[in-house]
C-alpha cells in the first residue's frame, strides 16, 4: 500500500469535516497563543522595574495557571465531542475492511496535522502579538518604561509541553473510543430512541431553594466584610441551583406546559414544547455551563473594568488627600513639631499646601449592640465591632469653624457606616444624648476602606474622653492621635521625594504612626487593578470562546438529529415557513435562555458585588452600573453575532432540500 495512504486520508478527513474541525483548530490556535502571551508577560523582566511589579507578575502568573487549566478542559471537551460525531465514519472504515490499528494510524496523522497547524500558527501569533499585548499592558498600567521585548524561550517551552500533553491525552481518548466500539454500534451511532426525561419535583424544589438562598444572601448582606465571606457561599448555592433548575426545572416547566391542552395543542407551541423537552435532556448541562461561564465572564469583566476606570476615584477614596499623616499618642507639643517638619520640608521644596484637614482624636473599638457600646472580652462577630473616634468639641469647632457648645451629657454623632437609630448613645453605663447628627468631619472617607461600623463622636471635653478611654482600653490615655491630611500642588516625582523625606524625618523623631502618599500608592494600585483587568480580559476571552464553541457544537449536532424530524413534519403538512419559524424559536431559546438567566444572576448579585467593591475602595456605584451594562452589551452583541452565524448553519443542515 502506498505509504502516503493514511496521511492522505487524514488530510481529506480534516477537509471533509471542516464544519467541526475548523472551529476546533481555531480554538487550539487561540488558546495556545493566549497561553504563550500570558506566560511570556508573566516572566517579562521589564515588569520588575515597576513599583508593584512583583505583585503584578504573580497575578499574571496566577492567570497563566488558570488559563492553562481551562484551556485543557475546553480542548479536551471539544475534541471528544468531535470524535463522538465521527463514530459512524469509523464504523464505515471498519466495515470497508480497515482494522482498528489502521484507523489509529489515520487518527494519528490527523492529530499530527492538528498539532503542527496549532503550534505553528498559535505560537506564531503568540510571538507576534505578545509585543502588542506587552505594550497594551504597560499603557493600561500607565507606565513609561523602555520596552525590552524578548521571545521567551521558557514560555515557548511550557506552551509546547502543556498543549503537547493535551493533544496526547485527546489522542489517547480517541484510541479508547475507537477501541471500545463495535462496528455495528459505530454505524448506528446515536440512532437509538431516547427515553423521555422524567419530572423530578424534589430536585426542582431543591434547585429553587438553593438559588433563592443564594439570591437571599446577596440581597440581605449588609456589611462588606460579611459580603466577602458570604460571596462564595452564595456563588456555590447559585451554581447548584442553576444546574438543578436547568436539568430538572426546565423539564418540569415544559411538562406542565404540555399538560395544559389548550396551550400545548397550538401550532406554535406543539412542536416547540415537545422538542424542547428532548433538547433540555441532552443540553441542560451544556446550557447550565454556558450560563455559569457567561455569568463569570460578566462579573469578572464588569468589576475589573470598573475598578480600572475608577482608579482615580479609588485612589481618592483610599487617600482623601495627597498626603495623610496619622500619628498616635501625640501630645500637643508633638503636634507642633510634626507640623513644623512638614512646613519646613514643603517650603524647602517650594511646594504649597492646600486643602488641609487636621484633627486630634482618640480611637477606641468596641462591639455595639443597638445604641450601646460594650466592654467585653467575649468573642463577637466582626460585624458588630465598631471603630469609634472621639473628638472634643473645641477641636470640632476649630475644624469646621462652627461654634457649638455641648453639655457634659451631650454628643455630636457622625456615622460613617452602621446606622444608630436611637437618640442616645450608651457607653457601658453612661448615657449621652445625641444633640445633633453631623457629616462635616472630612477625613471620614478614608475609613470607608475598613467598612465596619465606624463613628465620629464629639464630646464636650477632654476629661470625658479620657474616662471613656480608660474604661475601654484599661489604661491611662497617653496622648491623642493626630490626623493631618493635605494636598500638594506638585509633580508626582516631587511628591514621592517629599514622601520619602517625611518618612525619614518621622523615623528620626521616633514618632509612631503612618505617613501615606497617594502618588506613592498610585503605581501599586495601577499594577494591581490593571493586572486584574488584563487577566479578566484574557480569561473573559477564553470563556467566551468556550461558550461560543459549546453552543456551536450543540447546534450542529442537534441539527443532524433534527433534520429527520423536520423532514417528517414537512411530509405531514408543515410548511417551509412554519419549519423555519419553529427552528428560529428553538434556536433562540436555547441560545438566549442561559444569557437571560445569567442576566438575572447578575441582577441579584449586584448588591453583594457593590459591597465587595467597596472593600476594594470602589464606592462609585454608578460607575459599576455603567461598567456592567457596557460589558453586558458587548457580550450580548458578540453572542448575537455567534447566534446568527450558528442559526444559519443549523438551518442549512435541517432544511429539507439538501
Amino acid at each position: 500500500m502506498n505509504k502516503f495512504f493514511y496521511s492522505k486520508i487524514a488530510a481529506n478527513n480534516i477537509k471533509n469535516n471542516s464544519k467541526t474541525y475548523v472551529p476546533y483548530l481555531i480554538t487550539c490556535i487561540l488558546t495556545i497563543s493566549m497561553y504563550y502571551i500570558m506566560h511570556s508577560l508573566s516572566i517579562n523582566s521589564g515588569l520588575d522595574k515597576i513599583s508593584g511589579g512583583g505583585a503584578l507578575k504573580s497575578i499574571l502568573f496566577f492567570g497563566t495557571i488558570v488559563l492553562a487549566f481551562f484551556s485543557a478542559i475546553f480542548l479536551f471537551y471539544t475534541h471528544s465531542f468531535l470524535i463522538k460525531k465521527r463514530k459512524k465514519e469509523f464504523g464505515l472504515y471498519n466495515i470497508l475492511g480497515m482494522e482498528k490499528k489502521h484507523i489509529f494510524k489515520i487518527m494519528f496523522f490527523e492529530t499530527i496535522y492538528t498539532v503542527i497547524i496549532s503550534f505553528t500558527l498559535g505560537l506564531g501569533f503568540g510571538v507576534i502579538f505578545s509585543k502588542l499585548f506587552y505594550l497594551i499592558l504597560l499603557k493600561m498600567l500607565n507606565f513609561h518604561i523602555p520596552i525590552n521585548f524578548e521571545i521567551s524561550m521558557t514560555a515557548l517551552y511550557y506552551s509546547l509541553i502543556i498543549f503537547g500533553v493535551i493533544f496526547i491525552l485527546s489522542y489517547l481518548n480517541t484510541l479508547t473510543q475507537i477501541h471500545l466500539s463495535k462496528p455495528i454500534e459505530l454505524i448506528k451511532g446515536n440512532q437509538t430512541g431516547e427515553k423521555e426525561p422524567k419530572t423530578k419535583w424534589i430536585m426542582t424544589i431543591i434547585g429553587i431553594i438553593t438559588l433563592g438562598a443564594g439570591y437571599y444572601i446577596s440581597l440581605t448582606t449588609q456589611s462588606p466584610l460579611e459580603a466577602i465571606a458570604l460571596f462564595f457561599v452564595a456563588v456555590i448555592l447559585v451554581i447548584i441551583g442553576t444546574y438543578l433548575l436547568f436539568i430538572t426545572g426546565s423539564i418540569t416547566i415544559l411538562k406542565m406546559l404540555r399538560k395544559n391542552k389548550n396551550y400545548y395543542y397550538k401550532t406554535k407551541n406543539f412542536t416547540a414544547v415537545s422538542g424542547m423537552i428532548y433538547r433540555m435532556k441532552q443540553n441542560a448541562v451544556g446550557l447550565a455551563n454556558i450560563c455559569i461561564l457567561s455569568t463569570a465572564v460578566l462579573v469578572m469583566l464588569s468589576t475589573t473594568v470598573s475598578l480600572f476606570i475608577g482608579m482615580e476615584d479609588l485612589v481618592r477614596t483610599r487617600y482623601p488627600r495627597d498626603f495623610v499623616v496619622s500619628m498616635q499618642n501625640f501630645t500637643d507639643d508633638d503636634v507642633i513639631v510634626i507640623n513644623e517638619i512638614i512646613q519646613d520640608l514643603t517650603n524647602r521644596n517650594d511646594m504649597k499646601i492646600k486643602n488641609e484637614i487636621k484633627h486630634q482624636f482618640v480611637y477606641i473599638s468596641a462591639p455595639r449592640e443597638d445604641n450601646k457600646f460594650l466592654k467585653t472580652s467575649e468573642r463577637i462577630g466582626y460585624q458588630n465591632i465598631s471603630n469609634i473616634r472621639l473628638i472634643t468639641v473645641s477641636e470640632y469647632n476649630k475644624m469646621t469653624g462652627k461654634n457649638i457648645s455641648l453639655n457634659k451629657d451631650e454628643v455630636l454623632l457622625q456615622t460613617i457606616y452602621g446606622e444608630i437609630k436611637e437618640n442616645t448613645i450608651i457607653f457601658e453605663d453612661k448615657t449621652f444624648k445625641i444633640k445633633e447628627r453631623i457629616d462635616d468631619i472630612e477625613a471620614a472617607s478614608s475609613q470607608s476602606a475598613l467598612m465596619i461600623n465606624s463613628y465620629y463622636i464629639v464630646f464636650s471635653d477632654k476629661e470625658i474622653i479620657e474616662e471613656i478611654y480608660l474604661f475601654f482600653a484599661n489604661e491611662e490615655l497617653e496622648g491623642f492621635s493626630y490626623y493631618y491630611g493635605f494636598d500638594i500642588d506638585s509633580k508626582s516625582e516631587n511628591q514621592i521625594q517629599l514622601y520619602n523625606e517625611l518618612v525619614a524625618a518621622k523615623n528620626q523623631k521616633g514618632f509612631s504612626g503612618l505617613i501615606e502618599s497617594s502618588e506613592e500608592a498610585r503605581e501599586s494600585f495601577y499594577s494591581l487593578y490593571g493586572g486584574l483587568f488584563f487577566i479578566a480580559i484574557f480569561l473573559g476571552t477564553l470563556f467566551l470562546i468556550a461558550t461560543v464553541l459549546i453552543i456551536y457544537y450543540k447546534q450542529i449536532s442537534e441539527g443532524f438529529d433534527d433534520k429527520q424530524r423536520f423532514e417528517i413534519m414537512q411530509k405531514v403538512g408543515m410548511s417551509h415557513e412554519e419549519v423555519k419559524s419553529t427552528i428560529r424559536n428553538q434556536v433562540l431559546t436555547v441560545f438566549f435562555l442561559p444569557l437571560i438567566m445569567s442576566g438575572v444572576h447578575i441582577a441579584f448579585a449586584f448588591p453583594i458585588i457593590t459591597k465587595m467593591l467597596a472593600v476594594l475602595n470602589l464606592t462609585n456605584t454608578t460607575l459599576f452600573i455603567k461598567g456592567l451594562i457596557g460589558t453586558l452589551i458587548i457580550f450580548a452583541l458578540f453572542y448575537t453575532i455567534v447566534y446568527s452565524l450558528t442559526a444559519k448553519t443549523y438551518y442549512k443542515i435541517v432544511s429539507y432540500k439538501n
Binding site: G193, K266, T267, F270, I568, K571, V572, G573, S575
Partner: protein, 255 residues
Amino acid sequence: MAILEVNNLKKIYTTRFGGNQVQALSNVSFSVEKGEYVAIMGESGSGKTTLLNILASLDKPTSGEVLLNNKKITAITEKEISAFRRKNLGFVFQDFNLLDTFSLMDNIFLPLVLSGKNYSEMTKRLNPIAQKLGINNILSKFPYEVSIGQKQRAAVARALITNPQLILADEPTGALDSRSSESLLKLFEEINNEGQTILMVTHSVKAACFAKRILFIKDGEVFHQIYKANMTDEQMYQKISDTLTVVSTGGAKNE
C-alpha cells in the same frame, strides 16, 4: 367520478451541474375513481417513488398535470401547498415517520394541530379511529415503547384523522413482519370498504392482492393494469406473479 386524474406526467432529473439527464417518468396517465383501492407495482427504478412524490405534491413534474377533485395540484403555489396537503392527503410511509418526541396521540394529532383545530374536536375525531385501529389503550405511549405493527397503526390513524380525499401509502408493509402486514392490509381493505380512496405503492405481491386494481409501471410508463373484480386472493396472486414475470422479462405491452 374520478377523484384523481394524472395526465401525461413527465419528470426529468438533471444532475447538479447540468450534465446527465435521467428520465424518471416519461409519460404517465391514469385516473382513480372515488372509493377505489389502487396498487402501483414496479421494480426499483421504475419511477414509482417519483410518481408518488409528485402525487404527494412533494415534487413537481417537468410536464403534465395532476388533478385532485378537478383541482390542479401541480399549479398550487408553494405557500398553499402545505395546507392543501394537510387537508386532502393522508400519508402512510414504509418507515412510519413517527416523531420520537411525541406520544402516539400527539403524533396522530400533528396534522390537526398544524391546521389549528382545537383540542376537544381533535379528541372527538380520534376516538372512533383509535377504536377501529385497536390502539386506544397505547395512545399515551411513545413510538420507541410500542411494536412496529402498532407504530404503523398509529401512522395510519394520523393519515385518517384529517378525513383526506386520498390516502397515499408508500410500501406500508415494507418494514412489517408477515402477521402485522396481514392485519394492516385487512385494515386498509376495511377502510376502503367504508369508502376511503387509497393509492398504494408496493413491491409486495401479497399486499397488492388486497387492492381492487393494480397498475404496473416500467421505465417511467404505465405498462399494464389488472382488475381484481371477482377473483379470489389466490387467483389474484397468481395473476400478479405472472404479470410481474412478463414485466421483468421485458415482454411486449399487452392490454
